[in-house]
């Protein structure tokens, strides 16, 4: 019987061919380019060894971008878990309007992040909706996106709100999978709300938490569209993530070799955290 299916292996060859041409080959090529001083179009370039990587380590803009990437990744992930779980707990109860609430909150997930970013720009711009509220209460208009720290916080907030629906849906599905009898048993034992949450809900949500954290974390570490729409990486280099910096280095400064090195840094950052979350989830599976 085995050999009957064995010959069907050729059916995955087209997919493998695409992976080889558009992932594996560029991956290797990227490492080669990162060892050169190529500008992206010239015929002439030199191999410069590890120069790009040593410059990278001392580059203030790269350090800012790396730090920002982690802020975007972990900031949005934390907020999304806290809000997403709280919201899912709310929507898991029976009341009028919960279906509509779920529908509306999930809508932004399906809208292009760059368009959603521009929509938020109407809220955050100097003559925008947020400053209208502030002046209504007698306050002074604020240039929301002109300071690095505030802009980073706002980018995290915008990203969190857009993708809140993902964690909410995952947690809601997780909550609905918890058998009602556990709660009934706990109720008979006289366990209070908090005890029931910490003793039943949280442990049983463990797989959902890991899934949601992984999706949100990787999405946050790759953040690109929202930054492009709201700040373009500015003021200066203050809000760049590695992804937007890579783009600016390649197309803006035409330093292809250096940009390839930034790409490797971006890959390594995401790779490390993916491995960590997967390691954690394996350990968790053994516990159960």
């Amino acid at each position: 019987m085995k050999s009957t299916f064995g010959k069907t292996n050729i059916m995955y060859l087209p997919a493998l061919a695409l992976f080889l041409v558009f992932v594996v080959y560029p991956f290797v090529e990227g490492i080669r380019i990162a060892f050169t001083n190529w500008n992206g179009f010239s015929q002439h370039f030199k191999y410069v060894g590890l120069t790009n990587f040593s410059v990278l380590l001392g580059d203030r803009n790269v350090r800012t971008a790396l730090l920002n990437t982690l802020l975007y990744g972990f900031g949005s992930t934390l907020l999304q878990q806290a809000l997403g779980l709280a919201y899912a707990l709310l929507l898991n109860q029976k009341f009028k309007g919960r279906t509509i609430g779920r529908t509306i909150t999930y809508l932004p997930v399906l809208i292009s992040a760059v368009i959603m970013g521009y929509m938020w720009y109407f809220v955050l711009q100097y003559d925008g909706a947020l400053n209208d509220v502030i002046t209504l209460f007698g306050g002074k208009k604020v240039l929301w996106l002109s300071r690095g720290g505030t802009a980073i916080a706002l980018i995290i907030a915008v990203n969190t709100l857009q993708y809140l629906g993902i964690s909410m849906i995952i947690y809601l599905a997780g909550l609905q999978n918890i058998p009602e009898m556990y709660y009934e048993a706990a109720h008979l034992d006289g366990a209070r709300t908090w005890r029931r949450f910490a003793g039943i809900t949280l442990p049983l949500l463990y797989p959902a938490i890991l899934t949601s954290v992984t999706i949100n974390l990787i999405g946050g570490l790759k953040l690109f569209d929202v930054i492009r729409a709201l700040t373009g990486g500015g003021p200066g280099y203050a809000t760049h993530s590695l992804a937007t910096l890579l783009n600016a280095t390649y197309f803006g400064s035409q330093r292809a070799g250096y940009a390839a090195a930034v790409g490797i840094l971006l890959f390594c950052t995401i790779f490390v955290f993916t491995i960590i979350t997967q390691g954690v989830s394996r350990r968790g599976e053994i516990q159960y």
């Binding site: 009957t4 558009f22 509509i100 999930y106 809508l107 909706a129 993902i166 292809a256």
Partner: protein
């Protein structure tokens, strides 16, 4: 007592929903006012002003952008469905050391963000003359969507009892005929999820399109919208109108097919 309790729940839900989508409301208000209207973005116009939409459509060449986006999305979806269903079948049915290695390889591709390969990918596409072509961007989209969709099919096929295949094999069908006649018809539910996941990803894509579709005539929607905002001193009200038009198709589809969209995200998350 009971009414009061559900009142705060309704209130909280309304607040969260409102915060998540009020930028869309603001954008709609802006799109319905002329640029000369300096009133607050919160206040809807007494008389809606529609020329923004006409202007956005002609100046932004949105018709071309809609068509390009539709072509790229449709081609990508078709290829993703065919290639991933095909690839998953032997991986699910023929367990061998080679196929375990192939499966692991595909899983590891899932961890490579396309953007980190920007420089070499761009060089490769220039080299094979794929910049600003439909086939170039489609192949890139297909490649980076395939790992996830192959896994969706893989898990789904694994859950189909092997008795089905074996009955057909005993009747003299080939392994390919089993795929075509037995497996394929059963794949409908997961295919819906695959279409939605890949379709939304490609329709909304900005980062790949930004690099690989540079000719103005090849612009997709996200690029057309961002070009409105990139021009300083441009007409922001027209830009708002363009943004509103761009999100209409996906919003309508979502409201109509909500159940499937939610199932799609759950399928991809709980793989």
């Amino acid at each position: 007592m009971k009414a009061a309790r559900s009142a705060w729940k309704i209130g909280a839900t309304a607040l969260i929903s409102a915060v998540a989508v009020f930028p869309i409301y603001i954008t709609i208000v802006v799109s319905l006012k002329p640029q000369t209207d300096l009133s607050s973005f919160w206040v809807p116009p007494a008389v809606p002003f529609f020329p923004n939409f006409e202007g956005a459509f002609t100046i932004g060449r949105l018709a071309t952008a809609f068509m390009n986006t539709a072509i790229v999305t449709a081609c990508s979806i078709v290829l993703v469905v065919i290639l991933s269903a095909m690839a998953a079948y032997p991986l699910a049915r023929h367990r061998s050391r080679l196929n375990t290695a192939v499966t692991t390889f595909i899983l590891s591709i899932l961890m490579v963000p396309g953007l980190s390969l920007l420089v070499p990918l761009y060089v490769l596409l220039v080299h094979i003359r794929g910049i600003s072509t439909y086939w170039g961007i489609v192949l890139i989209h297909v490649t980076f969507n395939l790992p996830l969709t192959i896994f969706l099919y893989l898990n789904f096929i694994r859950a189909i009892p092997r008795d089905f295949d074996e009955a057909a094999l005993i009747d003299g069908s080939s392994a390919y005929a089993v795929f075509y006649r037995i497996i394929l018809p059963l794949l409908r539910p997961v295919t819906v999820s695959v279409i939605i996941l890949a379709g939304v990803a490609v329709w909304n894509d900005y980062q790949f399109s930004l690099y690989f579709l540079q000719a103005p005539g090849m612009r997709v929607l996200t690029l057309a919208i961002s070009s409105f905002f990139a021009v300083s001193g441009g007409n922001t009200h027209m830009a708002a109108a363009a943004a509103v038009m761009a999100i209409v198709p996906i919003t309508v589809l979502y409201v109509a097919l909500q159940k499937y969209f939610v199932q799609g995200v759950l399928d991809s998350a709980l793989k």
